[in-house]
């Protein structure tokens, strides 16, 4: 069974901060059965059971430290803020 039940999806939606209606949870749960059954073929037939392989072939080159520059685009970024107070972003309270 590859279906993700609505209860699990509700928990996932809280983790990723994405509010979903009951109808959406139901629809995505139904989608999950079809999609993850299809995806499960790489589990069963393809990827090796041994997880000791390198997970990624990309390398992350380190950049040389340069001289720090003052960022001059601050105003244009603040202008995009949905809510602001003077030079600060205005965000909702945490609790």
């Amino acid at each position: 069974m590859n279906k993700i039940d609505e209860k699990t999806l509700k928990r996932v939606s809280e983790v990723c901060r994405l509010k979903l209606s009951q109808g959406e949870l139901k629809e995505f749960s139904l989608d999950s059965e079809k999609l993850f059954t299809f995806f499960s073929k790489i589990n069963q037939d393809y990827a090796p059971k041994d997880l000791s392989l390198y997970l990624t072939l990309n390398r992350n080159p380190l950049r040389k430290d340069g001289t720090a520059k003052t960022f001059e685009g601050a105003k244009s970024i603040l202008d995009l803020a949905p809510k602001r107070s003077a030079d600060y972003f205005k965000v909702p309270k945490n609790l």
Binding site: F28, L57, P82, F89
Partner: protein, 476 residues
Amino acid sequence: MNTKTKLEKIKSQEIDIEEESQKFLQKITDSNINAFITVNEKQVIEKAKKLKENISKQKAGKLAGLLVSVKDNIAVKGIRMTCGSKMLENYTAPYNATITERVLEEQAIIIGKTNMDEFACGGSGETSFFGPTLNPWNNSRVPGGSSSGAGAALAAGLCDLSIGSDTGGSIRSPATFCGVVGFKPTYGLVSRYGLSDMTMGIETPGPMARDVYGAAILLESMAGNDPKDNVSTKQKQFDFTTKLDNFSFEGKTIAVPKEFFEGSETTVSQIVLDAVEEMEDRGADRIEISVPDTKFCVATYYLNMYAEFASAMQKFDGLKYGFRTETDSTLNETVSANREQSLGKEVKRRILFGTFISMKEFQGKWYSKALQAKNIIKQKYEKIFSKADFMVSPAAPFTAFEIKEKIDDPLAMYLADTLVSFANLSGIPAGVVPFGFSHGLPVGVQIAGGQNKDLEVLQAMQTLELKRGEIKWPQK
């Protein structure tokens, strides 16, 4: 008129670029295909006027006076960048992407930002918040996606060149459905700095054009090292145009993968096989190969993409920029509501499933396996290209399908990527060149090559293009 001729006529001032720009802007206004989200009307004419002076002083850049459209997930400073989403409906890019800087240095005129599937989540051009793009060849059909506006704008003659991005076929799918040239470069050849990321491990910006020369000169302008992108090539500059004609299929080996034809429509397969025959007639050796891994590509691609996409989308919370709902609740509730109200169904689906497979308790079953599968596929293609110069196949098993035909069936939509995602998973170049029509709809031939064989792939594409001859473009 082909791109090379147009450039020559601009440089010799036979074409007045100010008049030409006005003509294109009028065509966009008159068009019904919804290819653009934002048209850069005012700046286009100003830029054209300035460029006219430069050209008259013989200071023309490589793209001097060509009207280039940019997919709306690539930053152009001072112009709205929506990614096809309500979330970024009012977002203006505060800086240029590296590739934007480069095409501007070569004196391109950015005519506007093209429509796209929301955050590149779609293969049909139907998921944009700004409405679907229509296929210029038949308005009831999809143009392909996610660079839907780019492909449609070129086919309808609304721009000279387009910059798209390809994560799992997003340049090549609209290229085949709209009958234009689309090229996905080797991963790292073109900088991603300023591209709104979807799946940074496999995606790349790339050129689209009406002809191979157009794609080659746009790629040449964009490619090269960028210190701001950590997977960028070390080479500073590339030449894809001067050697474009200097090519022969003599002594080349063409691999024809049988699995790519198995589920394809007969007419589509036949057009691709005609292209293979043409290559053989020109001296290429043909080998039939089997790539059973093809059936794992879609699953591998979507699992990798889900996880990276969910992570990339975390920044769209509506706090510092983007859509913000009018609530007076806590931070978490506000962010959840912002995302709920501004993101479309496919984007939500991918964030949700991507978060699911990245969670510690489920990760081993899905994401780790998908990363391993990606490496296996990459190695398989390295092996193929140690024996063959090119792999030739369809880019889609069918021609452009009806609007709404697949939109409610995510698996059917995902399966449309079966023949294209291999190139992203293995980081190799692959391009599509139109080579025929089936029931009035274009069919492209996909040519892939080994890593860093971008020039050779473009050369092979151009040889087919010359054989095919002129296309009679749609007049809508």
